[in-house]
């Protein structure tokens, strides 16, 4: 009986972790699918979102602060992301590995800037009272913050799904995703689509930063602790697919949480990595494969 409770609790934790992975990885997956570039400074967009949440709390304290912080962080991170796209990523668009390295340079600078401005020790964001509760189900306890994070992840997924499926921007994104040359030939400004998607992706990371600030202090390196699992989610999900990213996030969240029943955190990290490598033995193209006859994609 006790085991069943523990198991159920860890399943909940797994989904909770998965919602963080989704929020951290979605933006990466979006721009990776479209532009084939990985933004190593994506973790710093989480950090930026966290610090923007902290600043918002200083200016508008009160129970609604977090609801103000979310759009602020989204916009702030989207603007910084847009600047990065225009100044660095666009120049390197034909060299994906070099983009990865250059954005790592950006990541170092942003981390050091955060250290200079806010100090090396983290700043705390106190969750509003209405999130400081939780409810019990038998001997299980579900903290409200965790449920809130799950809800945010579901809302972001739904919103993004609608955006891609129903709006004009979504149509353009799908067109460029399918065939960049054809899309450009039919008059779509592919560069502007790239920019929009990149901003959207970093914006979601900013949002994720607000959510992270509910769980612990915001430090200059807060993004680093989530970004490597997020990279694994992208690798496992398959070329920028939203469904694949979500599925991979859930699988890795569950693997991590359930393995922690009998392993310590570091060993569970080893297990997660082994799991990804073994998974790729069977499905090297990821959870959701893009079907294509192209030899080199």
């Amino acid at each position: 009986m006790l085991d069943a409770t523990l198991f159920a609790g860890q399943v909940f934790n797994g989904f909770s972790l998965a919602s963080l992975f989704v929020l951290a990885a979605l933006g990466l997956a979006l721009s990776f699918g479209l532009m084939r570039v990985i933004n190593m400074a994506h973790g710093e967009m989480l950090m930026l979102g966290g610090y923007l949440a902290y600043l918002t709390y200083l200016i508008v304290p009160g129970p609604a602060a977090i609801l103000v912080a979310m759009p602020v962080a989204f916009l702030g991170a989207a603007v910084v992301g847009g600047l990065m796209e225009v100044t660095v990523i666009r120049r390197l668009s034909s060299r994906p590995l070099d983009t990865l390295l250059a954005t790592w340079g950006v990541s170092l600078i942003l981390q050091q800037a955060a250290r200079s401005v806010f100090g090396p020790i983290g700043v705390g964001v106190t969750a509003p009272d209405w999130l400081n509760t939780g409810f019990a189900l038998g001997s299980l306890y579900f903290p409200s913050t965790r449920i809130f994070i799950l809800a945010v992840a579901v809302a972001v997924l739904a919103g993004l799904g609608l955006l891609i499926a129903r709006t004009r921007l979504g149509l353009l994104v799908r067109a460029v995703n399918q065939d960049r040359m054809m899309a450009a030939a039919s008059g779509i400004n592919t560069r502007r689509v790239d920019l929009a998607v990149f901003c959207l992706g970093t914006g979601i990371a900013g949002l994720a930063g607000v959510v992270l600030s509910l769980l612990g202090p915001v430090t200059p390196s807060v993004g680093q602790s989530y970004i490597v699992p997020a990279f694994l989610v992208v690798v496992m999900g398959g070329l920028g697919s939203m469904v694949g990213t979500t599925a991979a996030a859930i699988i890795l969240g569950l693997v991590s949480a359930l393995s922690q029943i009998f392993l310590d955190v570091s060993m569970s990290q080893v297990l997660m990595l082994l799991f990804v490598i073994i998974f790729l033995q069977f499905r090297p193209q990821g959870v959701v494969a893009t079907r294509s006859r192209a030899l080199e994609g």
């Binding site: 120049r91 994906p96 590995l97 070099d98 790592w104 050091q112 990279f231 490598i277 090297p284 080199e296």
Partner: protein, 356 residues
């Protein structure tokens, strides 16, 4: 770059200076130089895998650490009085030596481990990944996850790895007392000798048929497959070799620095290693050695003058080099020489045109 008759023999004075360095510089600078030459061995490995193979790895710190820890475990054990355990194990209440520490009592085993452990681990890992044709960005991200995982593991298993502080407090190596001027000089020459050997070996390998096929795989993997080659073994060998070089570099670095810790193996140090080669030139063995020395001396100077500034400098240099100088300083030097040569031969072309 080696076209110019003066430059073709430039290595002779450079090598002569390097051999005589113990007589020319202070013992502090000699120690630094020794460390950076050890890092240059690792940098040559990155040229093989990244420059020649086109495979970006963000996990070289893992192999640097494997070499460093292998030699450090031996050093730790040999400096103990009989019947005692390493200090950090006693503090953590470990009663007997863990089984995987036991063979490191033998110096021969430790030396073999420096070469064989990374070769086996890198070979197996690379075979698993390359066999399924996972490449490019995916490979880079997976190697980065390996670096993070290895560093976390070393840090968290405090009682058997020394945790965050790593392994330090070495006294003797193969019966030689460490820390004396004589020992430092010997270590320096050993490092230099190994660097020269690795350099020459790599140069030979890259000129061989293997090197040609590796470059061909980089430039058009499917074409090489259509010609009937299986490309996987070529890439696996390149990755394993780069891992062995990283490990040798790590072992030598540990001897010079007197410490090895997770701070040398994680995500950030692993990418810093790529920075050395990016700055020096990813397609040039000379460039990689120069890059490792330049970046590390710059780091030493900048971070002792303004510790805050180093990460800004590193980040900015990396962005600029990757964006504007993809072939690094070696590429820049090549371009300059070529321009001079073109200018020198330009009048001939003009005469030729006139004659026609």
């Amino acid at each position: 770059m080696t076209d110019h008759p003066l430059l073709r023999h430039a290595w002779i004075p450079v090598l002569a200076l390097a051999v005589l360095a113990p007589a020319l510089v202070s013992s502090y600078d000699l120690n630094l130089l020794g460390r950076f030459l050890a890092m240059a061995i690792l940098a040559i490995g990155i040229v093989l895998i990244w420059g020649e193979g086109g495979i970006l790895t963000l996990g070289q710190g893992v192999f640097f650490g494997l070499g460093g820890y292998s030699i450090a475990m031996y050093l730790k054990l040999v400096s103990l009085d009989p019947g005692y355990l390493p200090d950090f194990m006693e503090w953590s209440g470990v009663m007997s030596l863990p089984w995987w520490w036991v063979p490191f009592q033998s110096p021969l085993f430790a030396l073999l481990a420096v070469v064989l452990v990374p070769a086996a681990f890198a070979g197996l890992f690379a075979w698993l990944v390359f066999r399924r044709r996972i490449a490019g960005v995916y490979f880079a991200l997976i190697t980065q996850a390996v670096a993070l995982t290895f560093a976390t593991l070393l840090t968290s298993q405090q009682s058997t790895t020394g945790g965050y502080n790593g392994l330090t407090g070495f006294t003797t190596l193969f019966g030689m007392e460490l820390g004396t001027d004589g020992a430092n000089r010997t270590l320096y020459w050993v490092t230099l000798g190994l660097l020269v050997a690795v350099f020459a070996g790599s140069k030979w390998l890259m000129a061989s048929r293997y090197g040609t096929l590796l470059r061909a795989t980089r430039d058009g993997e499917n074409r090489v497959r259509f010609l009937g080659y299986d490309t996987t073994p070529y890439k696996v060998v390149a990755f394993a070799l780069s891992a062995v070089f990283a490990s040798i570099g790590g072992a030598l670095f540990t001897l010079h620095a007197g410490v090895v810790s997770p701070a040398f193996v994680g995500v950030v140090p692993s990418i810093e290693m790529i920075v050395w080669v990016a700055v020096g030139g990813r397609n040039s063995l000379w460039g990689a050695v120069a890059g490792a020395l330049i970046v590390n001396f710059a780091k030493d100077i900048v971070s002792s003058a303004m510790p805050e500034a180093w990460l800004y400098v590193l980040g900015l240099v990396f962005i600029l080099v990757v964006t504007f100088l993809p072939n690094g300083l070696a590429g820049l030097a090549d371009d300059l020489l070529k321009r001079r040569r073109d200018r020198a031969s330009a009048p001939d072309a003009a005469l030729l045109e006139e004659a026609q």
